[in-house]
C-alpha cells in the first residue's frame, strides 16, 4: 500500500535555511544540504523548500541550493516560492528538484500551470493554495502573496480548476490553523479530497502526535507537512511514524 508521507518544509533565504533547526547536532544550522541530509536520515519522505528570498536578483541562489542538496540527498524535493515562468521551473528541475510548487503565480497566470504540466508532466506541478475560512460567505477563500492578499477565488473551485489545468498535487495550507498547533483543518481536507482526485498535502496547525493521527484517520489526504514541530525538535519524524503505525496508518 502507498505510504502516507511526512514532509518537513524548509524556508530558504539567499541559500540559507531560516527558522531554528535544533533537532540534531549540525555544524552549520543554516546549511540546506546538511539539514536535508539530517531529515533524510530521520526518515522524512520528501522535502519542500520554500524560497522566501525577497529580491529577484537572489533567485539564482535557490538553483545553487537545490543543485547542492540533490548531490547529497536522494529523495523527492519540491521547490516553491517566487517561480514565475517556465524557465524558472526548468532551471530548478534541472538542478535536481522533482516538483515545482506554484502559488501566487498560479493565480495571476493560471496558464503557467498548463504550460508546466505540458512541458514537464503533471507529476512535476504542485499548486500551493493558502486558504482562510470566510465567515461572511461561509466559504474557504484563497490568499496570495504569502497570505497577505485576499483574492476573489473560492478554494474548492480553485482546486478543481488547477487540477483541470494540469496540477498533479495540491499543497493546501489552512491559514486559520497555521501557527496555532491546534490540529489540521479536517473540514477543509474533507471538502478537498471529495472534490479532486490528485494527492493532497495537508499543511497548517500540527503541534502534537495526535494531529498527524487525526488528519490521516479522518481524511483522505496523502501527506502531512510540518515545519516548526520538526525544526525545533518538539517532535521527531520517527516518533510521528511510530505513532501512525500504531494507529494502523501505512508509513514507510
Amino acid at each position: 500500500m502507498l505510504a502516507k508521507r511526512i514532509v518537513p518544509c524548509l524556508d530558504v533565504d539567499h541559500g540559507r535555511v531560516k527558522k531554528g533547526i535544533n533537532f540534531v547536532d549540525l555544524t552549520d544550522v543554516g546549511d540546506p544540504a546538511e539539514i536535508a541530509a539530517a531529515y533524510e536520515q530521520q526518515g522524512a519522505d520528501e522535502l519542500v523548500f520554500l524560497d522566501i528570498t525577497a529580491t529577484n536578483e537572489a533567485r539564482g541562489a535557490m538553483v545553487d541550493t537545490i543543485e547542492k542538496v540533490a548531490a547529497q540527498v536522494f529523495m523527492p524535493l519540491t521547490v516553491g516560492g517566487g517561480i514565475k515562468n517556465v524557465a524558472d521551473m526548468q532551471a530548478l528541475l534541472k538542478a535536481g528538484a522533482d516538483k515545482i510548487s506554484l502559488n501566487s503565480a498560479a493565480v495571476s497566470q493560471p496558464g503557467l500551470i498548463k504550460a508546466g504540466a505540458e512541458k514537464f508532466g503533471s507529476q512535476c506541478i504542485v499548486v500551493a493554495i493558502d486558504v482562510r475560512w470566510d465567515t461572511a460567505t461561509q466559504e474557504y477563500r484563497v490568499y496570495v502573496n504569502g497570505g497577505r492578499k485576499v483574492t476573489d477565488l473560492e478554494a474548492i473551485s480553485w482546486a478543481k480548476k488547477v487540477v483541470a489545468l494540469g496540477a498533479g498535487e495540491l499543497l493546501v495550507t489552512s491559514m486559520d490553523r497555521d501557527g496555532t498547533k491546534s490540529g489540521y483543518d479536517l473540514a477543509l481536507y474533507h471538502a478537498l479530497t471529495a472534490a479532486v482526485n490528485v494527492p493532497i498535502i495537508a499543511s497548517g496547525g500540527c503541534g502534537k502526535l495526535a494531529d498527524f493521527n487525526e488528519v490521516f484517520a479522518e481524511t483522505d489526504v496523502d501527506a502531512a507537512l510540518a515545519a516548526s514541530v520538526f525544526h525545533y525538535g518538539e517532535l521527531t519524524i520517527p516518533q510521528v511514524k511510530q505513532s501512525l503505525r500504531q494507529q494502523g496508518v501505512t508509513v514507510r
Binding site: A3, A70, A71, F120, S122, Q123, P199, R252
Partner: protein, 203 residues
C-alpha cells in the same frame, strides 16, 4: 563505465548525481558510439511514452539501444525508461516501444477511486529473487507514474500493490526495468543502483 542515455528527459542529471555519489564511473551521452562502447546502460525517463520514443528516434537511438541490448549489454530502464523497454505503449495513442521485452504500457485504472499519478513510497514484494531485486524486498521506494507495464509473469521480478498489482522490477536476461526511481529512494535506492553496477555491469 555506465552511460546514462541522454535524450532530454527529466531525471537524467539526478541519476548522474546518484552514480557520482556512489563513485560509479558514468557519463551522460546520446552518442551512438559511446553508447555501444559502454559496459552498461541506464535509460532514464520522465514524461510521456510517445514523446520519449520520438526523442530517441530523433537522436537515432532506437536501433542503437536495440543493438546494445541484443549484444548482451546490461541495461536498466527507470520509470518511463522501463516502460519504453516493452513492445507497445498506449499513452496518447499507440506507440511502438523498444520491444526488448514482451508487454504493453497501460493506464492505471481510476474506476476504483485510485488517485493518479501513483505518487509516493510503496513497498516492493519480490517474486523472483536475484541479487539486485533482493535489495528491495519489503522495502518502500519512490514511485511517480500514471501508466504501468503489463508483461509475462516470468519477467516480473517484483511488484507493488496500488489496488492493482504494478510490476516494480521487470527483467529478461540483461535487460532490467525499475518502475520506481532508485535515484530518489534514499539509501535503499542507492544500494540497488550499486548492486546493478556490481552484479550486472562489472560482472
Amino acid at each position: 563505465m555506465i552511460v546514462v542515455v541522454d535524450y532530454d528527459t527529466g531525471n537524467t542529471r539526478n541519476l548522474k548525481k546518484a552514480l557520482d555519489y556512489l563513485g560509479i564511473a558514468n557519463q551522460l551521452s546520446s552518442d551512438s558510439a559511446t553508447i555501444l562502447a559502454a559496459d552498461g546502460l541506464i535509460l532514464p525517463g520522465v514524461g510521456a511514452f510517445q514523446k520519449a520514443m520520438a526523442a530517441l528516434a530523433e537522436r537515432g537511438l532506437v536501433n542503437v539501444l536495440q543493438t546494445a541490448a541484443q549484444s548482451g549489454k546490461p541495461m536498466l530502464g527507470i520509470c518511463l525508461g522501463m516502460q519504453l523497454l516493452v513492445e507497445t505503449g498506449y499513452e496518447f495513442g499507440v506507440t511502438r516501444g523498444l520491444d526488448l521485452l514482451p508487454g504493453e504500457v497501460v493506464p492505471i485504472p481510476t474506476d476504483n477511486g485510485l488517485k493518479v499519478p501513483h505518487m509516493g513510497w510503496n513497498t516492493n514484494q519480490v517474486l523472483q529473487s536475484n541479487p539486485v531485486a533482493d535489495v528491495f524486498a519489503g522495502e518502500a521506494t519512490y514511485f511517480v507514474h500514471s501508466f504501468y507495464v503489463q508483461t509475462a509473469a516470468k519477467n516480473i521480478i517484483a511488484q507493488t500493490d496500488y489496488g492493482v498489482k504494478i510490476p516494480s522490477i521487470i527483467q529478461q536476461d540483461n535487460v532490467m526495468g525499475m518502475q520506481f526511481h532508485p535515484e530518489k529512494s534514499g539509501q535503499v535506492g542507492l544500494a540497488g543502483l550499486a548492486r546493478f553496477n556490481k552484479e550486472l555491469v562489472l560482472a
